[in-house]
């Protein structure tokens, strides 16, 4: 039952909180929480090839990721999802290649090249700014922190914990290399960092 709950909750890709699990599924079995969670994790792994990861040890929230190697998980994916992943990987690539942290205006300036503008309705993404600064953040793909002592406020963008779990610097470097038709070693410092 917990397994089903987790699978359904995972649809939005927002981390699942322990509190929700207790309230909706476990009810009387509160004391057995750890047992049940680890059992569920085992079932997810064996039956679905999914890994249940605690992404926030303080809040006890969890996400599901695939434990199968990337190329093999050739599962059907809806267009909307694909498009968002496309945007996401571009952002993650930019952040990594630029040294793991970028300022918000640097990112949005870059996205302009791709016809994506904050504050404008995008044909495909709608409110892009909301997608990037809210949805991706809630899903733990991105981490946005305000830079102190700056007025007007500016923010720095970094990889979120989910990004670090679902992909890797090496994978992203390979993506960039593929797009640009170059060997990943072309970018020596990033390559060094990615394969360290």
């Amino acid at each position: 039952e917990l397994v089903q709950f987790l699978l359904v909750k995972d649809q939005k890709k927002i981390p699942i909180k322990k509190a929700d699990m207790l309230k909706n599924v476990m009810g009387e079995y509160r004391e057995a929480y750890t047992e049940i969670v680890s059992q569920a994790g085992r079932i997810l792994q064996e039956a679905f090839g999914l890994q249940l990861v605690e992404i926030d040890p303080k809040l006890h929230s969890y996400i599901l990721i695939s434990s199968l190697p990337c190329a093999e998980s050739n599962h059907p994916c809806r267009a909307k999802e694909k498009e968002k992943m496309g945007l996401l990987i571009v952002i993650l690539s930019f952040i990594f290649m630029k040294g793991n942290t970028v300022k918000d205006n640097a990112l949005w300036e870059f996205l302009r090249w791709l016809r994506v503008h904050p504050g404008e309705q995008h044909e495909i993404f709608g409110d892009v700014q909301k997608l990037v600064t809210e949805e991706f953040v809630r899903q733990k793909y991105l981490k946005i922190t305000p830079i102190p002592l700056l007025d007007p406020p500016q923010f720095s963008y970094q990889w979120g914990p989910r990004a670090a779990l679902e992909t890797s610097k090496e994978d992203i470097l390979n993506f960039v290399a593929k797009v640009q038709g170059k060997n990943p070693k072309f970018w020596t410092s990033q390559h060094h960092e990615a394969t360290a």
């Binding site: 699978l7 649809q11 999914l50 994916c77 999802e81 694909k82 992943m85 496309g86 994978d171 797009v179």
Partner: protein, 259 residues
Amino acid sequence: NREEILSSKSNRLTEALEEANKLFEKVCRAREAALDAQFLVLASNLGKEKANELHSEMTSFDSATFAEDLLTLMGINRTEIEENDSEPGGFLPRDAWQKVGEEALKYFRRAPTFHYMLGSFKSDPPEAKQRIERQKKASRGEAKQIMPAQLKKMEESHEEATEKEVERILGILQTLFENDPDTPISFFDFVIDPNSFARTVENMFHVSFLIRDGLAEIRLDDDKLPIIEPTKSRKGVEENQGPGARKQVVMSLTQEEWK
């Protein structure tokens, strides 16, 4: 001093390092080595900051080229006309971002989004019973929706439907009789539906209720064929008081006979 070192044009840091190197060769006491180590830590921190300041020159990553290459991946149709704004000319196809996304998925270990394969149950409203020609019922809309989970409800509405049908048939019988009070109706004419055996059986079923409740009567006419007529109210009352002439008749009707 720090500012000076950080300024990118300055070689101060390098100079300081070189000096430290020379000094280290002369070192023979531990304390001096510790100082040297301290200095190195400081120097490396400064070096890191300096490197950060240099941004793209250090990483040799050119975002403009990256963007261009991404657009190519998206399948942009480049136009010949030069645009005035900073965006290069060109037309992005509808599936531009899908193309990127398709490639992107190969680099993520994303749990596939879980969707139910089958929808939840819905049942059709009960089939409209076939109407006997002369009567039309506007209340077809009353036919109830049945929720499968609620078996109780289903049974209820079945019962009600039967009652309704019985009432309806009574109504028809009475109407027919009104039009022609002295002629009872041939039972078979009344119940048989020329198009459907099943309906015929249903009709008989409903008529049997009427008989049971004393609302109609079946008699045999001179030809020994059953006829049916609604009981006149007086008579009905009387019958209820008496022992009640109740007969049970098993009517058999096979499909053959029906034909």
